[in-house]
Amino acid sequence: MTVAATPTGEYPHPLPRPPDELDRLKAAWALPKGWRIVSAVNNTVIGYLYIATAFGFFVLAGILALLMRTQLAVPDNTFISQETYNQLFTMHGTVMMFLFAVPAVEAMGVLLLPQMLGARDLPFPRLGAFAFWVYLVGGLVFFCTLFVGMAPRDGWFMYPPLSSERFSPGVGADFWLLGIGFIEISAIAGAIEIIVGVMRTRAPGMTLARMPIFAWTMLILAGMIVFAFPAVILATILLELERAFGWPFFIAERGGDPLLWQHLFWFFGHPEVYIIFLPAAGMVSMIVPTMAGTSLVGHRLIVVALIATGFFSFGLWVHHMFTTGIPARSLGFFSAASMAVSVPSGIQVFAWIATIAAGRLRLTAASLFVLGFLTVFTLGGLTGVMLAMVPFDWQAHDTYFVVAHFHYVLVGGMVFPLLAAFYYWAPAFSEKPLSERLGKWAFGLIFTGFNVAFFPMHVTGLIGMPRRVYTYPAGLGWDWLNLVSTVGAFMVAAAILVILVDFVRNLRPTLTDAAGNIWKAGTLEWMENHTYGARSVPYVDSLEPLWAHPTMVDDVHQGRYYLPGTNTGGREAIVTSAVEAEPQYLMRLPGPGWAHVLAAFFTAAFFLLLTVKAVTIALACGALAVAMIVAWMWNSDPASVGRADIGGGIALPTYVSGPVHPAWWAMCVLIAVAGALYLSYVFGYLYLWTVAPQTWPAASALPAASWIILAAALLVASGVALSAAQRILGRSRPAFAILVAIGVASLAAALIVDVLSQWRSGLRPEASGHGAMVYAGAVLQAQVSAAVAVMAAFALMRLARGLLDAERRVVFDNLRLMWIYAVGQGLFSLLLTHGFPRAVG
């Protein structure tokens, strides 16, 4: 007689299970057949596609690198033209960062998280699928611009004024701004999915303290995306407004400043490095204990280190700007912060070493990649400390030393762990594991090749070779070093080829016959990985439940734990509380569908057509995208069917609203995104004032106070209407509809009044940095107001159909949150654009 992991020691369900229970569960989670697989939303399927696509972009961007290394193999080479080379390095960096690294780590999250957390799926399967399709279509089109010579050529950090209309006419820069801009939207969608998934879909009993490190890193990663990506999204919006309409945010002669871009870009760009690194570190923290056969040493310390890294990483961005002539005091602060961030990484490195010491490391292919990671990443960290020393940075900045440094950090810190992860987790998802022999060959080649390619670059940089040069003269001592680097690059390519051969020969993704737990790991993703995850959802009482309960895999498979079938006949997930993981709600999940796929295609089409200035069809596609999103959302709020028994005497409600509902969490995260975007804007506004205060108007030139009072009154009225609508919800449909309509109209009117007041005062967006900023604020307010309007229309449609009432009100709760935010942002905006100039004028 075995003892269950539950607090009572009793299994939630007795055996044997009813004969049709498993069949009904399988039917509910069945995948669409043949080409219809495109409509699938299941996290395993989307996870496979997501990872395959990201790895595909890795290979493509790697080929670009090989072309560049070939060009640089000898001095004065004419293999590749200047123009092509400039496009190549821009695309290499952009594709590696935006189309490989971030999507790859999110993809690993999509694939692994639900299994690892004991969840059936992520909480918003269609959102995850939407994010993937947007990324696939957008990424492919973006990459293909290379073949028609329309690729951007301003470097992956796109510094204006080089990337401005004046110095980069043509659509290359627009492809970067709009293409990457909306792929960032996909990343944010993924982040929302991951945050809510980690916080609310963990198996019962999996408190935060029992959550695997990988889930911690994904949670922190997603949180960082929420706060970092809006900065670069704002920057791309501003630069696109400048390019398209001449609003001079970055044009010094008209009160803009090129450095504003650098601040915004690196406020995103530096956390980005940790966004890539943290999940990789999380994977290492999963692999090392398994391969060493012992628990992770310093689990709590690692969690603290991860959180600290997340915080610190937002305070370092200026170390990318040490040569811009900023004051010594800032240099000192950011130098100190840049050094401090290496401490949490040091903690992790030594915790992994301690874990290896505590157990016996099996030297598998995965272990070798981890060892490669430990050494290569440590060296990258050490050169990072060197670069944090301001005087050294003055010499090394923008040279091949930096190229070497960040490849050690990124390839060492992310690619090696990812390859380790492939070799480690393949048996959980494939009929056969990957070949140990090929894996070890691949490791030997990539470890040697990487060091041959990149170690010499430290020297190349210090003896004077700058980055981003398509050629160099002979006689400066750079010749043979470059040749060696090129040889190394081709060794890396050979390693990737070996890995691809291994994939072709051995990787057989499966949902039913995975090779299984061949490493004897202790975490839940090593149970079965059907579309529904595992047959039943276990109770988790330790960090390594499979080690603590040797029969758990079998018990779960037989259906002895929670929710072994389906209560409603459809897909279901147990939603648990955020900290203690107590079951709260049985959420019904959607099955396959087309609306989110079409929404993704039309969203991509909207942005890409806008890039090539096909405005009319772009707008049509945009409207279709919104229509498809509405169609997809229509069935997302099913009515209550009473309480559902998940076993062990737990009966969960099938309808909840407010903070218990995952949608409420998702909305809060989305508002955090909007808030971060707006805060970046406020920073930009104040920053331009510090640079060019002379372009700020005198108080007399500002719109009269009566306008502002009117706009503010309209915003308040909008809030009052909302509050009244909330009170009347479920009592009078017509009154509710009228209040919502009035409220939305007031919100829009407030914006119109504000813009009109500025316009009548003579302020023009193209005249000065100040004017541009004021109207950019209106653009942001228009964005959130439009979101409120669409959501309100959706709510009213549901009201008319009787799908929205005092009980069934999640749609309204979401609208309400966004609405409150819109009113708040609007009021703050008035204070900023009318109050600030008066305060300083």
Partner: protein
Amino acid sequence: MSPQSVLSPMGPDAARIAETAAILAVGAAIVMTIVVAVLWLAMRGSPAVRRRLQADRFVAIAGVAFPVVTLTALLAYGLWTMQAVISPADASSAMRIEVVGEQWWWRVTYRDARGRSVASANEIRIPVGRDVLFELSSADVIHSFWVPNLGGKVDMIPGRTTTLRFRSDRPGAYRGQCAEYCGGAHALMALEIVTLPEEEFDAWLAAEAMGAALPATEVERKGGQLFLAGGCGACHAIRGTPATSSVGPDLTHVGGRRFIAAATLPTTRENFARFIVDGQHLKPGNGMPPFRIFAPEEVDAIAAYLASLK
């Protein structure tokens, strides 16, 4: 000696940074060795050693205490070095030179002892042993002024003037290069700093301030006429002639510089000729259109004239 290297410092400022680099590199190598050794011990060490390595205390000492102490010391040292390197120039004795980054060349303006400005381009001569204060700005996109043998780099940013001070200890020619990607021919935007003994420098600057040399031979004279007739003066200035435009580099003493096209080609008559005809191939995207209106001997004459402008 390498002519464009951080590791061959030719002045006190570059030397200080090179010393920092050496200390950092040695420190990094030591830490790296320790980490690899500890990793090896964790895998292959005796049970007693491995027992020590798996204690939480080991993580706390190696992962927290050690880095905090070393990094604090490093930070202090780094800030101290930084203060020394950016210490302001001695205003009375410092030589001031304005450099403007343009796609893809350097506009150089000297101020002589009496405050007169002397226009030049792409090659900068400075006196040995004297602080030189560079006032850096940009005419178009962001560039970065960098001569590694003499000091660190500073960006040239539209709308701002940044400064860089350094001193050279030894006469020589040091190569520099634009370090911030500035589009198109960024790879070919180089410069040279030639450092001269004080008296030699004073004599040179006095000569540089004067107008161009008069053509000495018939070919040069013809070249000079063709230069003007061909419209070269629409972009270039040669002081003492009707060519006075400042769109492109000042050519008054172009023949006296060691390189042309922003330290891309050695200054020879042949290279002048090649650049006039085929500049778009030698330096794609540069502001000068190809001049194919001239017959080969006319091109040669202009080249001879330019080479004579010492």
